[in-house]
Symmetry: C2
Subunit: 202 residues, 2 copies
């Protein structure tokens, strides 16, 4: 990196770092106030990045929302996958999902709220519903296998089995984040996994 003396101008901040700041700050605001309830000036203030810089990286507000969506689904999916290495049985896979959700509710509620609540209200068109994204597709595949192996009850198809299991965990997450459920998710995660499994097991 021997450089010519003149152009050593140190960049104030790496551009990518600004992009991330904008994404994280906007996600927080979107979760708290909804897409339409957040203005660009709000984002400028919360992120410390100026209007001009924001528009140099994102075509418009809607594009920013889509980037946040993709960013968040990826983040969740990678966490799920990294916890699943070596897990084999269907029941164990589902339990890993429940544990992940419970941990996220307590440790990264913004991410979790986004996953649960943001696609509704349809302010931004063209966002894939969370339940159609990779992590949930992945769970559905395991449920299908469970059905074939006979460990999941045959009264239902894999779709209904999936929603029945995840419904227990996700509803708990919703109520916890709405402040209705006072127990921490860590305390009840085993009960949630057990209830969910009882809902669908053969």
């Amino acid at each position: 990196m021997t450089s010519k003396g003149i152009s050593v101008k140190k960049r104030t901040i790496n551009p990518q770092e600004k992009i991330n700041k904008v994404i994280l700050a906007s996600r927080k605001l979107f979760v708290e106030k909804g897409y339409c309830g957040v203005s660009i000036p709000d984002i400028v203030q919360a992120s410390g990045v100026s209007t001009g810089a924001i528009y140099s990286h994102f075509k418009d507000k809607e594009t920013l929302a889509k980037r946040i969506h993709a960013y968040t689904v990826d983040e969740f999916n990678e966490m799920l996958q990294s916890r699943l290495t070596g897990t084999e049985s269907v029941q164990e896979v589902l339990k890993v999902f429940t544990y992940l959700v419970c941990d996220l509710v307590e440790e990264n509620p913004i991410l979790m709220k986004y996953m649960l609540f943001m696609q509704h209200g349809g302010a931004v068109a063209g966002l894939s519903p969370i339940c159609e994204t990779d992590p949930f597709r992945f769970l559905q595949q395991h449920l299908r296998r469970g059905l074939e192996e006979g460990v999941v009850h045959r009264r239902q198809d894999f779709m209904v089995a999936g929603l029945s299991y995840t419904g227990v965990t996700l509803r708990a997450a919703e109520l916890r984040m709405d402040g209705v459920l006072t127990e921490s998710m860590t305390e009840i995660r085993d009960v949630l996994a057990e209830n969910g499994w009882n809902a669908i097991k053969a």
Copy 2:
């Protein structure tokens, strides 16, 4: 809970009718586009009631939203109560809830979407979470009784039992209304009731 019992003077046009038109039209729009995504001109067009008339009955947009909220929770609660006359066992009460949700998803999706999605996004402050409203409180009381009677498994408290049962039904409703679940709720309502009960039974 119920409407005002004031005697109605004969008028050329009933103002109450206009109020209802505004409430129903706005609720539909709010569900479709979110609170902030709906402007007063949008409501004027959809309801056929003029700006002036709207503001003569509702202090501002936020007050309108609160009236819609109360109106909708009442509507749901009355439907639930009317279906429950004579129902005794905890399991039966829960099944009535599941059937009601399934019917509403197919017959009045606007009402059901409102119940499921609208409090999130927090655009309007001071709305009680749906799960803290009368109908859900009512279910919780039955679960508490179920716990005392020993028909609900003791691994959990009544709050967790309630969310585990309702989670199955409500998650199905969400996925159905997001277009992810292709089977009609009528087809799967018995499976949902069975799964939910299996999740929590002793």
